[in-house]
């Protein structure tokens, strides 16, 4: 397992697109910093960028990487390896690379700019953790999509659709619901809406640090306790773990039944 993981990591890491992706983060982070000279401003901008980009890139890289690795996976399947072992290792190579890109592209320059010495450190750490978490979740989803649909064009289109849904449409629908039902107590609805979308959860964890004052201004007692207390954070973490675990289980199920 370790060896396949290593080689699929090598495979990913030598891809031109990974360099472009990492370079994009590096350039954006550095130029934002040069423009503003302000760590928290950079972190806020990078939050917006990474929350949108990590799921998108996770999905796009995930699908194409799977399609490109199909034959490699077949070759591995003729070896004395269990299917689970093969899938998790090949996927692992992808996930590690994506996380490394964010850590290098956003983390390194920020460290260089002295983020450790400022009060924004906790936001920085949450941002990196969430960027990695989203990369992991969405590349895993991409893997599932690609496994499910052998047609590349179809797989890619579905991946993009998934991104549109989670990154944009979902929030639009939530906002619409909130506006329509604004005369009713909305706490449960809101909490439900948050924990069902990993991008929202990642964002909430960050804005709970960034915009705590705004978050604390809110009527709903349930929502306030949710946002303010550790159990809210606990619920979010639990939900994020579920978001990783469920796709992993489907990967296992799909992997065990798929024909190559």
């Amino acid at each position: 397992m370790k060896d396949i993981l290593r080689y699929s990591f090598y495979e990913m890491v030598r891809s031109r697109w990974v360099y472009i992706y990492t370079a994009f983060y590096l350039i954006t982070t550095i130029s934002l910093w040069l423009l503003s000279n302000d760590n928290s401003k950079v972190l806020i901008s990078m939050t917006n960028i990474t929350l949108g980009l990590t799921p998108l890139i996770g999905l796009l890289f995930g699908t194409t990487y799977y399609y490109n690795s199909r034959e490699f996976i077949q070759m591995l399947m003729s070896q004395p390896l269990s299917r689970w072992n093969i899938f998790i290792s090949v996927y692992g190579g992808l996930a590690i690379t994506l996380c490394a890109s964010v850590l290098v592209g956003v983390g390194l320059p920020m460290l260089f700019f002295g983020v450790l010495q400022t009060e924004t450190l906790s936001i920085f750490l949450i941002l990196l953790t969430m960027a990695c978490t989203l990369s992991i979740i969405f590349s895993l989803i991409a893997f599932l999509v690609a496994m499910r649909y052998d047609d590349k064009v179809r797989g890619l289109s579905i991946s993009i659709l998934i991104w549109l849904t989670f990154a944009i449409l979902y929030d639009g629908v939530v906002l619409l619901l909130l506006l329509v039902f604004k005369d009713y107590p909305l706490d449960q609805l809101t909490i439900g809406a948050i924990v069902l979308n990993p991008i929202d959860m990642a964002r909430i964890l960050i804005i709970m640090k960034l915009d705590i004052s705004a978050m604390m201004g809110y009527t709903g007692a349930v929502l306030s306790t949710f946002l303010g207390k550790t159990w809210g954070t606990g619920l979010i973490i639990l939900s994020i773990l579920t978001w990783m675990l469920l796709p992993l289980l489907s990967l296992r199920r799909l992997g065990n039944h798929k024909d190559f």
Binding site: E71, S78, Q79, P80
Partner: protein
């Protein structure tokens, strides 16, 4: 060595394997033949666990192997289309294969045979089709496995390499290996095979020695014999089978 019993497999509505019953015993080279879509690759993939059969049994050395994977330790497999991770080098793939499969390896002999050493440090995406196939063959045969399965081994190889490869296979046969080859090049099958397994429409049409098939079809060459079978099949699609055990 291998026994396949009543193996069925459908891909959606396409019923590919319709009850295959085969027993492959002992050593030697078996040519697995059949027209496109007859189920050759599917059958092999079922054996290797890449395709999960709908029903039936596959025994390898007496054990049912469906859902298992350890048995592949004793199998060397050359897949039909080999597009490997593009950014890895041949040498890395050989290292990877070594770490996956235990046992003695003999990659140096194969590298010498194909004169590959200068190509091993290049990325796979930069290799020619033929060289890629050579790396592929090296990967499949570097372990001294008792069973070797080759799916279209000659694809992309130049005549000299084909000859060297054939010699290598004959040597392996003499060392007591069981080798299963699928190919569309009849001369290659004729040249190498001791036995023929002919699939037609997802069923076994003929299994027996090469000479027996020629005798039955009253033809001089394998190519003609096969052509004749396919031709007669078109005229009267009956399911008369010739199986010699």
């Amino acid at each position: 060595m291998i026994a396949i019993k009543n193996l069925h497999k459908s891909f959606k509505k396409n019923h590919v394997l319709k009850g295959i019953d085969v027993e492959i015993r002992g050593q030697g080279i078996l040519a697995l033949l059949g027209p496109n879509g007859s189920g050759k690759t599917t059958m092999l993939k079922c054996f290797l666990g890449m395709v999960i059969p709908d029903s039936g049994e596959i025994l390898f050395q007496g054990n049912n192997i469906i859902g298992q994977y350890v048995y592949r330790q004793s199998v060397g497999y050359l897949p039909q289309i080999a597009k490997f991770p593009e950014n890895l080098t041949g040498r890395e793939l050989i290292e990877l294969m070594k770490s996956i499969k235990s046992g003695e390896t003999r990659e140096d002999a194969l590298i010498d045979l194909f004169d590959l050493s200068s190509e091993l440090d290049k990325k796979m995406s930069n290799l020619s089709g033929g060289n890629r196939q050579k790396v592929n063959i090296t990967l499949a045969l570097m372990h001294d496995s008792p069973l070797i399965i080759l799916d279209e081994p000659s694809a992309g190889l130049d005549p000299l390499s084909i000859k060297k490869f054939k010699d290598f296979l004959r040597l392996e046969k003499e060392r007591g290996k069981t080798i299963i080859v699928t190919t569309h090049i009849m001369s290659l099958a004729e040249d190498l095979a001791d036995d023929i397994l002919f699939l037609l429409d997802g069923q076994v049409y003929f299994q027996g020695s090469l000479s027996r098939l020629l005798e039955l079809q009253m033809e001089e060459s394998l190519e003609n014999a096969i052509a004749q079978i396919l031709d007669s099949k078109k005229k009267s699609p009956s399911h008369e089978r010739y199986i010699e055990v």
